[in-house]
Symmetry: C2
Subunit: 552 residues, 2 copies
């Protein structure tokens, strides 16, 4: 009798960073880990969000037993509002992600009918033939979990997003002894976070940032304005703690920061001594060296409080000399220019600005190389799959695994859509399911395909030229002179002569044609060719040419 194999199917997060999602299948049972979104790259013009392709899951909908969420960051939960109404399966997570998911589903009017379950660390979940247990890991948001998955073929450990912080500000350190126990029992497969596999050494403890904040609050001659991710609850806690030590009051500025502070205070994730939080109305009355402001805007988001402050566009807060601004975050790739512009604007108004290049104001939430090796050594898995990362991160993580003794043949560097069939003796990629980017643009999910994006790209480079050609319905002859309108191509006043010349060129091309209605395709192509060549000669630019034929 041949035993069935496990199928490991990454649907997101292994070809690009973000939109994490993975399916694990055994016979007729599928469990899903995470359902995240990705923010669009520069080349995805006009796109709002990117979510995973779930065609495979929709084809096997009746087999899905549930989605287990590792933690509450957008790249792990953000696709739920779009996918859950289609998948209609229960979702399991710890308390904070449970709260965040509820808020997100409500915003998108997808909460009705959703089966959301808050579970505790250590609690056993039965998802078909899988028995799943969440264990605590350290990450840059409270209530983060890794997964222990008991399968008929053995134990799978999934690290979630993790680092090893022995002195975390909030919550428990990563549960190493549980992992060591499992390692001793025997683990079939480890899936581990590769986001920072490029970085040598250990990721520093959050404590480092606490010390910097302490110094800043002690020494700053005026107000201290700290900006960070609203999900970074431990950082907000550190700000409150440091403010308390230096007799400063804390003003929370901006809607999203206010919302998250309120929620995490209520749920008990954030602790504020009585009277330390103050209302923005009291700001003017306070001496400047008794004030701390907490706000979002660390990514230079144009509508954030910090950017409005930097641009002298905020109702309550204006920079004055003596203010110290702390950007307690790193740039998400692609945001560098926006952040730099914000820092420049703050300096220009006389603020002292502390950011990651010049001060220890942030540590990230993922393990570096030594931590990844430690996890591998504790769990001692038979097989290893690096997850969460682009190809180079996965490759480097694979090299780390090899360096601690896992044979190369037991390490699988997968990409999204790969189907790895894994048995007790080995595994191999046996197929490929549909995967890749599904674009959310405005209200629509998935209608933006490569044609629309290619057109946007072309339009963005050299603009568009619309050529209006009126043709006699009966004779097929040109009526009047073709009209030409352009946008984003040239300065229309300066290039008037060239544009007039191009109208003549189009008109001339009809002289000998005597085109009949059937030839309109031919006309299109011909007009495009003529104008493409002419404009390129004149300008070395290639606008999109759009001939419009009006039959009169």
């Amino acid at each position: 009798m041949t035993r069935s194999k496990l199928k490991i199917i990454p649907l997101g997060g292994l070809s690009e960073i973000g939109k994490n999602m993975m399916a694990i299948q055994y016979e007729n049972d599928i469990m899903i880990i995470d359902a995240g979104l990705m923010f669009p790259g520069e080349e995805m013009l006009g796109i709002d969000l990117v979510i995973p392709d779930i065609s495979y899951l929709m084809e096997n909908k009746e087999k899905i037993r549930g989605i287990v969420i590792t933690h509450g960051h957008e790249d792990h939960i953000g696709a739920l509002p779009y996918l859950l109404p289609q998948l209609e399966v229960p979702v399991y997570s710890t308390k904070l992600p449970h709260g965040l998911i509820s808020v997100k589903l409500k915003e998108r009017k997808a909460l009705d009918g959703a089966k959301l379950n808050a579970v505790s660390y250590g609690q056993q979940l039965s998802l078909g033939r899988f028995r799943v247990e969440l264990f605590p890991v350290c990450h840059s948001i409270p209530d983060a979990a890794g997964l222990i998955i008991h399968t008929p073929l053995g134990i799978i450990v999934h690290s979630g997003d993790f680092k090893l912080d022995y002195t975390p500000v909030y919550g428990k350190p990563t549960d190493l002894s549980r992992l060591a126990q499992l390692g001793a029992q025997g683990v079939l497969l480890l899936l581990s976070d590769s986001t920072y596999s490029e970085l040598p050494g250990y990721t520093p403890s959050e404590r480092i940032v606490g010390e910097t904040l302490d110094q800043v609050m002690a020494q700053a001659p005026g107000r201290v304005i700290v900006t960070t991710f609203s999900s970074l609850v431990s950082r907000i806690q550190q700000v409150i703690d440091a403010a308390a030590r230096h007799n400063r009051r804390v003003f929370v500025v901006g809607r999203s920061m206010t919302d998250i502070v309120k929620m995490t205070l209520e749920l008990g994730y954030l602790k504020a001594p009585d009277g330390i939080l103050a209302n923005i109305d009291q700001l003017k009355k306070m001496p400047r060296d008794k004030v701390v402001l907490v706000t979002t805007g660390s990514q230079g988001e144009p509508t954030s409080a910090l950017v409005r402050i930097a641009n002298k566009d905020h109702r309550h807060v204006h920079i004055v000399k003596g203010d110290t601004v702390v950007l307690s975050a790193t740039a998400v790739p692609g945001n560098e220019a926006l952040i730099n512009r914000t820092v420049d604007a703050l300096f220009r108004q006389g603020a002292q600005v502390l950011y990651d290049k010049v001060a220890k104001v942030h540590v990230h939430g993922h393990g570096s190389q030594e931590e990844l090796k430690l996890l591998l050594n504790l769990v001692r898995p038979k097989f290893f799959i690096p997850v969460h990362g682009e190809y180079r991160h996965l490759s480097l993580h694979a090299q780390l695994a090899e360096s601690v003794g896992i044979p190369q043949s037991n390490i699988f560097v997968l990409e999204d859509g790969d189907v790895l069939e894994l048995g007790p003796d080995g595994g191999k990629v046996t197929g490929k399911v549909s995967s890749g980017n599904v674009y959310v643009d405005g209200l629509s999910v998935g209608d933006i395909g490569s044609v629309v994006l290619r057109n946007r790209r072309m339009l963005s480079r050299d603009g568009i030229v619309v050529v209006i050609i009126a043709i006699n319905r009966q004779t097929g002859k040109l009526v009047g002179r073709p009209d030409i309108v352009s946008r984003g191509f040239v300065d229309t006043r300066e290039s008037k002569d060239m544009m007039e010349e191009s109208r003549d060129l189009v008109a001339k091309s009809f002289d000998h044609s005597g085109a009949r209605p059937a030839d309109w395709d031919f006309i299109n192509t011909k007009v495009r060719d003529i104008l493409n060549r002419f404009y390129y000669d004149q300008t070395k630019r290639r606008p999109m040419i759009l001939p419009v034929v009006v039959k009169v």
Copy 2:
């Protein structure tokens, strides 16, 4: 008698990094330092290059005595082909930049009539009332210079782009003793490079990279492929030296790298032992562990040799397992995504890839904080202006100057276009000249203004909808049904119904209008409003709406 003042007028490089250019004026004499270009930011859609605005110089053309170039990088010489034909003044530089400028002018057919002068370090140039001397500085290209400018009011020292490398691979270290002498004599003003003023400590010596290359060539089981900037001649020298030590032959791949190697060998900047350089035809015959390839592509440029190799699209070179690729460069901001994609593609084909995050394969060419302070301490200027940087770089450099004892009132943080009038007792900004970005797009210089760019940006986000409305010339009534064509807006097949509905909406808006020819502007606005609202309701997108009225 009131004495005249010096005017210091930055025209580029002090609001954004790149396109460095500065004018120094005393009465009727103007000298210019550098004339560089900048590569466009993401938001400058379709733009090829950015150069400085020289309106002020054109208005004062008869006063300009010459342009002095500090070194041969694009951000210091790249605007010359565009500006020199207008300015028609002599250019002075050391030998290597002289060669590079000649090549650039020739390419743009601007060499005829150009007055290019190669000068030596220490040689005195008379430019009106200015006496200028170039002194050696260390930077990531040979023949880099700082400037000592004797003016009627005192000595100005300009650092150029510099770092302090006591063991440079090529050329002389920065001439500290000359600077100390000047400091003892008394320096009126120091202008110094702020590019890396964010970085604490000292910039490491180029030697570090030599050691890494040595190790790689010794240990790599197969070919070593090194990619770097073609201008980084010292790096190419290090590759040749390391190859020689490990009995590997060097193959230069790609046109631009081949050109620069040829030129620098001829001029004597590059030294290659006999028989070490090999022709690409011999590549196949060589054992893999005896091969080094040198190529461009460190920025992920789509047409570079490395990117073609990574994409399996190169005529001669295909990656095989065992190959080691070294990216000996850092990302120019904005290129990160292209570089990451290239690294991923190389890993995917089985190469080992070494890049700045994972190995010591690059050091940059600018001084860090301690070097900047050392220069300030040696030169001991009365006044100080940080140059080359965005506002935060300049601010931080100003803080460094203050920390070594220069009074705040003697430090001027300027931006492009500021006119600083400086006398022996102080200075102040007394005016502003036209400055900013002049865009080069295809053949044209400066015709792309904010309207064209705004249109490109709008087109890039949600595409365009062209509405063709045929109107009877006499009656002003609609003829037939309006036609609608879109590009980059929606998937036209999936959104057929919506597009049809929008045609009806436009048609209906004419029912009661009875528009006369004079109302065409009104029609335009009305059609735009109706469609904007309709499409936004339906899709939450805002395409550009372009109504085209055809009179029949």
